[in-house]
Symmetry: C2
Subunit: 361 residues, 2 copies
């Protein structure tokens, strides 16, 4: 079989040139006689790969010098716990704005450590919108305010950075980092699992304003201490070198394609095409999210008759359109269309959806 | 350049057939139209890969049914902290036997959580031996006794499982798991980073007697809770799928080669060859470890004149023998000869060492 258009929410589709390069270098990286996955993280070869990846990510995302960048294990979920350990006093207040499943996960992780407060939630609306920032109940004594920039399952996305006063804003950007220009300076901390827009699974990125690292935080093991990871240049212990390398190749690909400006353009085009196909289907397909906060990355949609779901999944797979099944929490369908998904992939999906509707409508 | 014999301590050499298979499958795994690194961890394809890897590891190591197996991120160092959080009451005693650098790391990680006691240490001897178990000061009230089965830097290895009474024995087996038969039932918990004997970097294995998971442990985030990981089948959050897959391929390779019995034979042969070359060099090379506890996995050695170190490293690299430089804590040389290092690699090293000695002795 040739390569399909893969709409998986993460681990997600990777750029084919990145996979081809990794394939070509698999047994012998740059003529050194070994794979990158076999090289010591302390050797000059991998140290070069790691440094280039950080420099490229800084350029790609536009990370100011007063922000540190960490490449860590544990995914975004581990960072959800670690931000409380690193930046809040034991039992200190921390404000959470919940706009979907991952916001709920974030607050669950920190409950042993902080006075986790729900500043706002759109759960009563089935997470079909984002609570209006004017209604948020923020605490002056909070260690931070936490938001989920894009909710992968519910398909809602902050289209503007909320203003939260002097308390630093922490954001889970796992599914939208590097998808459009981002003003990092508005955030105290940004974290992201790489497996959606930044490359492969198995590595997460933390971008943190350096001055915040002066906070004492809570008693914790050295391996849970962001300051130690920074001092150790994200090599406090053996890092996931292959994953870091593949993320670095992905950063280079994104820069070569035109950077976040170009991906913002493509992502706007792709998501508009898909929402138009849904909204223009006369009710055959529907997306229930408030159009003002619809995600450009994850598009959940439902067929008017769920009895057709099985046929939709079977026929779409046969047409080379992979992984369209919705998350079990919502049912229906979901198309994740991150940076590596080409416009042609969304065009193929839209064409299939029209054809399917004509045959089953 | 062709592939070198890579003596890196970890990330380490992988079996060439494993790399070749990963290379062949890089763009399209088993005809599904996507790479394994692009597939959802919730899909049937990866769930199958994960389940096979666990079954193969159980067969390879001989893990009894009353032991759970977890595949986790964070390396062995994260597990060093997590064992305290999961199995000790806050401030409870925990006994550590220190026989090298990694034992020191282990005790450092748990200091915020337990009353970490040094039951014995060979530091005064430069970690050239292992403290005699008859001298260990063990506590009846300890949550566990922790040892490092093989010390990667200092090159010392427990050749027998110490008897520690009723307190469960926890062991870091990062650099010797699956290198010879192991009686898992003598341990309460075994953990290992995969990047030495089990495959690639970026994934760690925890083998734990199920009944120990009933302990309350300490307040901790769900993501730091082994019980939650077990319930979630090591997919509590997105696991490092590619690393898990590559570890699985390595398990299959080890089983096909004859399993741990065969690797025990090869590893005994390889290490005997190398120690004989050192001991028989008339003092040109020396290894300072007590022969009774010399590691079969990591062989540190020194040249009689350290002024020759640079030439040794340059000439060995030119001869296709990679990564022989010793750890900065010890200096000199170190040859790591895990399962994936063929006998031919050690023969090439021994031949080079004799030749080098004849030219420089």
């Amino acid at each position: 079989m040739s390569r399909a258009f893969n709409f998986s929410p993460g681990p997600a589709m990777l750029p084919e040139p990145v996979l081809r390069q990794a394939q070509a270098e698999m047994l012998d990286w740059h003529g050194v006689g070994a794979s990158i996955v076999e090289l010591s993280h302390r050797g000059p070869e991998f140290i070069g790969v790691a440094a280039e990846a950080e420099a490229d990510l800084r350029k790609l995302v536009g990370i100011p010098d007063d922000y540190a960048v960490l490449f860590l294990q544990g995914g975004a979920t581990a960072q959800q716990a670690l931000v409380a350990l690193n930046f809040a006093e034991p039992g200190q207040a921390a404000d959470y704005v919940i706009s979907g499943h991952w916001g709920k996960t974030a607050i669950k992780q920190v409950k042993p450590y902080v006075d986790a407060r729900i500043a706002a939630t759109s759960e009563a609306d089935g997470f079909r919108n984002i609570p209006d920032p004017s209604t948020w109940r923020l605490s002056d004594d909070a260690a931070y305010v936490h938001i989920t920039a894009n909710e992968t399952i519910h398909g809602v996305e902050f289209r503007d950075t909320p203003k939260v006063g002097t308390v630093p804003l922490f954001a889970d950007f796992s599914s939208s980092i590097a998808s459009e220009p981002l003003d990092v300076s508005k955030y105290g901390l940004i974290y992201a699992g790489a497996q959606k827009n930044l490359g492969p699974v198995g590595i997460a990125v933390v971008i943190v304003r350096r001055e915040l690292l002066e906070r004492a935080g809570q008693p914790r093991a050295d391996i849970f201490d962001y300051r130690s990871h920074l001092k150790g240049e994200s090599m406090l212990n053996t890092p996931p070198t292959w994953n870091w390398y593949l993320a670095g190749l992905t950063f280079k690909w994104m820069l070569a394609e035109g950077g976040v400006q170009e991906f913002a353009r493509r992502n706007a085009q792709k998501s508009k095409m898909l929402y138009a196909a849904i909204d223009g289907s006369g009710g055959f397909y529907r997306n229930e999210v408030d159009p003002a906060v619809r995600s450009r990355m994850n598009v959940p949609f439902f067929l008017y008759d769920e009895a057709l779901d099985k046929a939709f999944l079977k026929e779409s797979a046969a047409a080379g359109l992979m992984a369209l099944k919705g998350h079990r929490a919502l049912g229906g369908m979901r198309a994740s269309i991150y940076n590596a998904m080409p416009v042609e992939g969304v065009q193929a999906l839209v064409d299939f959806m029209r054809d399917f509707r004509e045959r089953h409508g």
